[in-house]
């Protein structure tokens, strides 16, 4: 049935109005992302192709910074340290936060209090946590004077290059598990009780229920936790900057800190931008992997 010109005009007005209003609503976010996300990203890419020391205008030097990265032993050390930090943190964070989530998904006395206590470190600023742990890790600090004395050991937590990276990983795990515990609890609560009831009817033990029901149905949550943990770890900076400045002799230097050192301490902004681009690519790859895997592993409870 053909529409009259009046009807057509009013519909056109309706769609136009809807478009304009829709556009107005998303405009602030678009502007925000353009200024604070897209522009810095594009700028970083541009500066990575220049020789820029902050004090004089950038000079285009093509891929020189990227070439230099390949032979920069400090960059390779920082990259290795970042991977160790990321994997060394992600595995214990995953295991401990899942374990805590399983415990706190059950009803027991004092559950809310304990859950709050485990979550408490999450709300602390990273700088505060780093300062406090610097005191705890001091050779004469509370850790060595309690556990150290009991075990008759006195590790140099932050000045022994073999120990320092793991000391910082320990803090990261301590501060992060509360957050991921909450995510796992949400994931566990989304699993319908029917599956457990059915497993029980089939005679499954608690362990079998966990292994064959809980874990498979938690896969999207697990992947999310794993990937977000890895991304956060690749962006590490605060603990290393406050506690060790990347030392001793680069043992705890990570990419984020190395970018900072190059940009603001050595005034090599172009080179720092090139490192940032490499870090960006690593994180993008991780994110794409996560999207790919979660899409193929989507769980339906129907």
């Amino acid at each position: 049935m053909a529409t009259s010109p009046t009807e057509h005009r009013s519909r056109w007005n309706f769609y136009t109005r809807r478009q304009i209003w829709g556009f107005i609503f998303v405009l602030p976010v678009m502007i925000f992302f353009t200024i604070f996300a897209f522009y810095p990203m594009l700028s970083a890419f541009y500066y990575s192709l220049t020789d820029y020391n902050l004090l004089k205008p950038p000079v285009f030097n093509g891929l020189a910074s990227y070439e230099r990265l390949l032979t920069d032993s400090r960059f390779l050390i920082a990259l290795k340290n970042t991977f160790v930090y990321a994997i060394g943190s992600a595995i214990p964070i995953f295991v401990i936060s899942l374990g805590l989530a399983l415990v706190f998904s059950r009803e027991f006395r004092g559950r809310n209090l304990l859950r709050t206590l485990y979550f408490a470190p999450v709300i602390l600023a990273g700088v505060v946590v780093a300062m406090v742990w610097r005191v705890i890790y001091h050779p004469y600090g509370p850790l060595n004077s309690t556990i150290g004395q009991l075990l008759n050991i006195a590790p140099n937590w932050l000045t022994d290059r073999a120990v320092a990276p793991w000391s910082i990983i320990g803090i990261n795990v301590w501060q992060s598990v509360g957050f991921y515990m909450i995510i796992f609890i949400a994931g566990l609560q989304a699993i319908p009780q029917d599956f457990y009831d059915a497993a029980k009817v089939d005679g499954a033990s608690s362990w079998q229920s966990f292994w064959h029901v809980t874990l498979p149905l938690l896969k999207p949550t697990s992947l999310f936790v794993m990937v977000i943990t890895l991304i956060n770890c690749f962006q590490a900076f605060t603990y290393q900057y406050v506690m060790t400045k990347g030392g001793p002799s680069d043992a705890t230097n990570v990419i984020g800190l190395y970018v900072y050192q190059n940009a603001f301490q050595y005034l090599r902004m172009g080179y720092a931008a090139a490192i940032s681009v490499v870090l960006f690519i690593i994180i993008i790859i991780l994110t794409l992997v996560q999207l790919r895997v979660t899409r193929s592993e989507e769980v339906s409870y129907v």
Binding site: R11, Y15, R18, Q19, G22, F23, V26, L27, M30, I31, T34, I35, F38, Y39, L42, S43, Y46, N53, L54, L55, K56, P57, P58, H138, P139, Y140, Q149, A154, N156, L158, T159, D160, R161, M243, T244, K245, G247, P248, S249, D250, A251, F264, Q265, Y266, L267, M269
Partner: protein, 469 residues
């Protein structure tokens, strides 16, 4: 159909907005204002004509006050004096208003903040800065030369003669002076007299004159509890986060005593992997691992000193007033002795010198620059107060004649150590060189890396920096 049209329109408008924002963003970034042209390297320092009157701060055209921003690193004993003399300056110059901004006390953080401010076009009009980080500013012409007329002299040479010879060298480029010293410093040996007495020793007789004397002294004075060193006769600082730069000044001083140098005479090559450096690094490694006389994991020595647990540390004249603030009881026990020497030293020098200078931003307006030059003169005109209340040596030639100098028995030691001691080179990459050497030292003391291997790696890094010049 309308949905797809709506989507297309939305996408087009969005892309247009994003593109225009990005184009706007790609406009040239704010650059630090370029300084007026500086004299070429071969030219003699440009001096104002003899008859020319010194620049005076004038009120802004609108009749408003000339407001200048002054930055300095945090050092509480100096801050009180700065504020006092700034208040006096503003009373004498009612058309000038000063905003005094204290940055971090940590040199690395302060320098980072200052350089970032320059990059963002928000640098202060005048500022205090340590010598080994001035290179990039001098190289880019971002600081203004000192105007000797402000000090009542016709030429820079006349002005320089009022300072101890050599102590202004850290602020010069191509023989042009760019700053007046707020502090000239060298590390000498701080000793705790009481701790010597507690160990049955007399600090005046038993203090370590040579590096070799340190080991037997440690054997007499060090105390352990539960396998941990709780009292130390002396300790180095090792480049840990609390004190990243000062260890290099000391270990470089040790190497220079043996004939070592940081750079070749033409400045094109690093010499840090030569025998004098290796021997100095080896000594510190042996101190930690062979003699077990010190430990980089413990509280940094200059903190442990004022806590009364370490009897000896290397520091500057400013340290006395700092200890007095932290622990007056220990401050009363301070005895300062010369920087130890090697028994087979070929040069008699102390730890390499450094200084803080008061600079004027060449990018500030002429009125602000003039106000800054006058303010810097004011802050440089009270060396006795800065010496007495903050322990800061402004190296004026007449300083030893002042009461404050005569009453402090430690000061002649610092001046004597300065004789024949060079500054850590004010090279544009000096700050990075310090970082390279700090990491080399850390490798030697935390992973027991062979000093030669560590210094070979340091040389390679420094040579690469020199090639980037």
């Amino acid at each position: 159909m309308s949905t797809s049209r709506s989507f297309r329109s939305f996408m087009m408008v969005s892309l247009l907005i994003i593109a225009s924002l990005l184009l706007a963003a790609c406009a040239p970034v704010a650059q630090p204002t370029q300084a007026p042209a500086q004299p070429a390297a071969t030219e003699a320092p440009a001096q104002p004509a003899a008859t020319e009157a010194p620049a005076q701060p004038t009120a802004a055209p609108s009749g408003e006050k000339t407001k200048i921003v002054f930055w300095s690193h945090d050092f509480p004993p100096r801050e009180k004096l700065d504020r006092k003399f700034m208040d006096q300056f503003m009373a004498d110059n009612p058309n000038v208003e000063i905003e005094y901004v204290l940055g971090p006390g940590d040199d690395v953080q302060y320098i980072t903040k200052l350089m970032t401010a320059f990059a963002g076009g928000e640098a202060p009009d005048c500022f205090n800065l340590i010598t080994f980080s001035t290179g990039p500013l001098l190289e880019q012409g971002l600081v203004a030369p000192v105007d000797p007329k402000v000090y009542g002299f016709n030429t820079q040479d006349e002005l320089e003669k009022t300072y101890v010879i050599g102590t202004l060298e850290g602020f010069k480029k191509d023989n042009v002076l760019y700053a007046m010293p707020s502090e000239v410093s060298i590390y000498s040996l701080f000793q705790n007299k009481q701790m010597y007495a507690d160990a049955g020793l007399d600090v005046e007789k038993d203090y370590p004159k040579t590096w070799e004397d340190l080991v037997p002294l440690a054997q007499k004075m060090n105390k352990e509890e539960n396998g941990q060193l709780v009292k130390r006769a002396f300790d180095f600082t090792y480049g840990m986060p609390e004190d990243a730069t000062s260890p290099v000044l000391s270990v470089a001083g040790m190497a220079y005593q043996l004939g070592g140098k940081l750079l070749s005479d033409d400045g094109k090559e690093s010499l840090v992997n030569t025998e004098p450096w290796v021997k100095s690094f080896q000594f510190i490694q042996d101190w930690v691992y062979k003699e077990k006389a010190g430990n980089p994991a413990l509280t940094v020595a200059f903190v442990d000193f004022y806590q009364g647990n370490t009897a000896g540390t290397l520091s500057g004249s400013w340290y006395s007033s700092y200890v007095k603030e932290q622990n007056p009881a220990v401050a009363e026990q301070i005895v300062v002795k010369p920087f130890p020497q090697w028994k087979d030293a070929t040069n008699k020098n102390g730890a390499l010198m450094y200084a803080y200078g008061l600079f004027t931003n060449a990018g500030s307006s002429p009125e602000k620059q003039a106000a800054c030059q006058l303010l810097i003169k004011e802050l440089s005109s009270h060396p006795e107060d800065y010496l007495r209340d903050a322990g800061l040596l402004q190296s004026r030639a007449d300083l030893p004649e002042t009461e404050a100098f005569k009453q402090d028995p430690t000061l002649p030691v610092f001046l004597a150590d300065m004789e024949g001691t060079p500054y850590f080179p004010a090279h544009p990459k000096a700050f990075e060189m310090l970082d390279v050497l700090t990491r080399a030292l850390q490798r030697v003391v935390t992973e027991q890396q062979d000093p030669q291997a560590s210094l070979d790696a340091a040389k390679a890094e420094i040579d690469a920096l020199l090639q980037q010049q």
